[in-house]
Amino acid sequence: MRQVWEVLRKDLLIEWRGRSRSTGVFFFAMILLLLFSFALGPDSQVLRQHAGAYMWLSLLLSSTLALSQSFRIEVESDALTVLRLLPVSPVSLYYGKAAANTLVLLLLGVASGPIVIAVFDVTLHAPIGHLLLLLLLGCAGLAAPGTLYAGITCRAKGQEILLPVLLFPLIVPAMLASVKATTLMMNGDPMGQGRSWFILLLCFDIIYWSISGLLFAKVIEE
């Protein structure tokens, strides 16, 4: 756990120091939200209905930038070589990086919340804590396979193309559950379906985090 914490701390410190990069990702997410709202038109009923879907879509597209960035820093400086020689288990390295990526995406999700509310004319029908928990689970579902695939593609040519091509099909179930649960929170949940989507998302998170952690050792080796 100590090693996971040290890797997490390192990644968050680097993220904080290089916050101009994160700011760029945030503005990219904001622009996507605005474009989606323009595409839907001025009908506030339609905007409200699709707010959850477009919020997650903008997070998903922005996440590929944030995820690939987290490994590009390691590879460009060759720090990954140093890390591989340190007594840090690949599992700790993976969970540290995945946790850092989850927090970065969560921050991005929280920061885009007010924009979603303003642009898509959303009224929350659930406590804010539930939405934050859903955001955390959704971001964890994105970050777990995203960190693994960013590790796979970081040394490949055309990383920017490869990462979404590999990642997007894999996270369809988690995205579907996140979108459904968010939409129910934003538009009301008279049939009480939100809980089922929540549990489904949690199950996929557990699967992603377990399998990706096991596979990561193979990924960072030659």
């Binding site: 040290e6 890797v7 410190l13 400086s77 060759d78 140093v82 890390l83 591989r84 020689l85 340190l86």
Partner: protein, 251 residues
């Protein structure tokens, strides 16, 4: 083509300082180590031994395979053929135990641009030996970077980066130190610092392998070594013999 081979033939290392090391297990034993990338053999049938506590020199021109060989020795790249053993043991699948005894100074140094000098040392240190803040200051002082401890690495010159990378390497307390072109981008004072660091590691009992173009400088420190040419070992012997070989071959 000059195919001279200076064989060590069981001779003792040139410097008597490492004589006691000869009685111990070799730090590295490489047998027919080869590495192929596509159709190109970057390293071909490299066989050599490095005595524990000694300083071993690898020389050769650009593209000779020095860095590839060092990365194989560091367990970062798997050899296509051949095998390596470390401190008397040959790890076949799990390199973790031996890998953590190895420290590598790679040409790209492995530093994070956004961290300060002190943070870099703390980060790498905490992930290995958990050095105290006194030790961090001692190491930064050792490489002459104490005044720059709060400066981000991105503002460092190439020479300062190399000094910091040496301090990070020292913080790991490795038993086997691999230095890939340690003299590159350094001024004379920086080169002397590298020499001092190598001597310091040797005093602490570590084994040092240096891959460099600076043959004469490296030979001042080394006990013995090899010369590579297009992935093949074309000479092996004492540091003095290697210097003579390099003078005849490269000048």
């Amino acid at each position: 083509m000059l195919e001279e081979k200076i064989t060590v033939a069981g001779s003792a290392p040139a410097r008597s300082a490492v004589a006691p090391a000869a009685a111990r297990e070799d730090a590295i034993t490489a047998r027919d180590v080869s590495k192929r990338y596509g159709a190109h053999w970057a390293v071909s049938r490299a066989t050599f031994r490095v005595a524990q506590g000694s300083c071993f020199l690898i020389i050769g021109q650009n593209g000779a395979g020095k860095s590839t060989l060092l990365r194989i020795v560091a367990t970062l790249n798997r050899p296509t053929l051949g095998e390596l053993s470390y401190f008397g043991e040959a790890p076949r699948h799990d390199h973790a135990a031996v890998r953590h005894r190895i420290g590598l100074l790679s040409p790209r140094l492995g530093l994070y641009e956004d961290l300060t000098a002190a943070e870099s040392l703390l980060t790498f240190g905490r992930l290995s030996t958990r050095p105290s803040s006194d030790r961090i200051h001692e190491l930064l002082g050792l490489v002459g970077l104490n005044p720059s401890l709060a400066t981000p690495v991105r503002l460092f010159s190439q020479g300062m980066r190399k000094r910091l990378a040496l301090a990070c390497l020292a913080a790991q307390d490795p038993d086997l130190v691999l230095l890939d072109e340690p003299y590159g981008a350094l001024d004379p004072a920086g080169m002397t610092l590298v020499d001092n660091m190598v001597r310091r590691w040797q005093r602490q009992g570590a084994t040092v392998v240096i891959a460099t173009h600076h043959v004469e400088r490296g030979a001042e420190l080394a006990d013995d070594g090899i010369s590579l040419d297009r992935g093949r070992i074309v000479a092996k012997g004492s540091a003095e013999e290697l210097t003579r070989f390099a003078a005849a071959r490269f000048h």
